[in-house]
Symmetry: C2
Subunit: 231 residues, 2 copies
DNA sequence: GCGCCAGTTTGCGCCAGCGCAAATCGCCTG
DNA sequence: CAGGCGATTTGCGCTGGCGCAAACTGGCGC
């Protein structure tokens, strides 16, 4: 059963491509479902495929030799990921884990040279995504190097809300389960410190939170916290 | 006066290209000299060109809104840099400064689409470099998030030595002037802490150092320091 | 050859945030 | 609806490394 082009037509990555072209691209793809907390690919494994996330949220995690984990980023719907091969790498540099039940499109790496040369828009879009990621990662280096923990955690929450925020009556909620431990692994601190910070912010009415759930109720004050030393 | 193809023939980026192709690539380039401590391009400036370093060493620096600096990386001979435009960015994300007198080749961005499609090897090599940089940057995030200052400084020195080390009778020396402040800006600490660490290491015979100069005399013990908590 | 200055060293006090431990709380399962 | 488990909260003590300040030094320019 061939995939219907409507599933990718709306994605910015494929913008400007015609129906026949979309069909041609989809001919090499298959759609796969991943249950919550299962791995799409693993760090160090041979890179055989690249992916586009159709539905869900994915956590990209790197593990140090001594077993400590760091969350490199979250992938949102419509993003391309696992493009190691296009960047000349033979293995994936990180593990991708479904944060919720996910649906992804999968292409074998072998089709990339052909696909990218036939559809320069696609290649350009992919490299633009990579460029943006490089930029983000460098911004994180700067944050880790120059900012205090409180600023870093505030920034991380704001980034998550911006990327995946869902409006509720209480405020804007992060759209997938995220633990204190996860936030700690994004910001280079411990779950204890994150917990203390969130508690303090909740007391001051800036957020409300629960088990694996965070809602920002006063984004403005959180921005102040992220930027300055007051708030 | 046209540039001679011999200046780039030996670079891995242009590997596998014939004389006519090299000449064709060089036709669009010009060679420029930058004096020590001058800027090749500035953060936030419109990206008009991309570059290849022919001789010297370049420091890539990002500045935070409040004026703190972080060294993103050092560029060595033969590397391509300033490729913002190929990644879909309109401005440079960082400032590039000649750490010593440098010679660079400069191409206007306008020729990139043509050049990269005519010479896929060149495009692939460029994206491979970008991929490696993304990898490096993520590795730095992990280091900043999980390691102590001592480990980070040791790792930074080892990376510099590996990238640009020059053998002397005392050991392996970093091939360009580098201050305690520079090392601090690479590792997210202060020049004071770096100075204390280097003094301690010098006392233990692991390095010898002077004004803007570091020589590793016992790389093995420095590796131990970078990995564990002893040494 | 001398003076100046950027780069470096070092002492001291302090505190942000980690590590450890224990209690508590929600949620899911049976 | 009871039990159990993973997530969260919170107290306490400690310390790595920062901030400040002052002294020192190697090299370059005059």
């Amino acid at each position: 059963m061939p995939l219907d082009r409507s599933i990718i037509a709306r994605l910015s990555l494929f913008e400007g491509l015609g129906p026949a072209e979309l069909d041609s691209i989809l001919r090499d793809a298959r759609s796969v479902r991943f249950a919550k907390e299962t791995a799409i690919f693993e760090q160090e494994a041979e890179a055989r495929s690249f992916y586009v996330l159709l539905a869900g949220h994915i956590r990209v995690v790197r593990t140090t030799p001594d077993g400590r984990q760091v969350i490199a980023r979250y992938i949102s719907e419509g993003e391309i990921f696992g493009v190691a091969a296009a960047l000349g790498r033979l293995t994936y540099p990180a593990t991708a884990i479904a944060a919720v039940d996910c649906v992804v499109l999968v292409w074998p790496n072998a089709v990339w040279p052909d696909l990218s040369s036939r559809f320069p828009v696609l290649a350009a879009g992919t490299f633009k995504t990579v460029g943006a990621r490089l930029q983000d990662t460098q911004a994180r280096v700067m944050e880790l190097a120059t900012e205090q923990v409180e600023q870093r955690v505030a920034s991380a929450l704001l980034r998550l809300v911006k990327q995946t925020g869902r409006k509720t009556d209480a405020g804007i909620e992060i759209d997938f389960p995220i633990s204190r431990q996860d936030i700690a692994e994004m910001t280079g601190t411990t779950l204890h410190t994150v917990s203390r910070l969130l508690s303090a912010w909740e007391e001051r009415g800036i957020i409300v939170s629960g088990r694996q759930r965070v809602t920002i109720t006063d984004a403005h004050r959180l921005v102040m916290l992220a930027e300055h030393r007051d708030g």
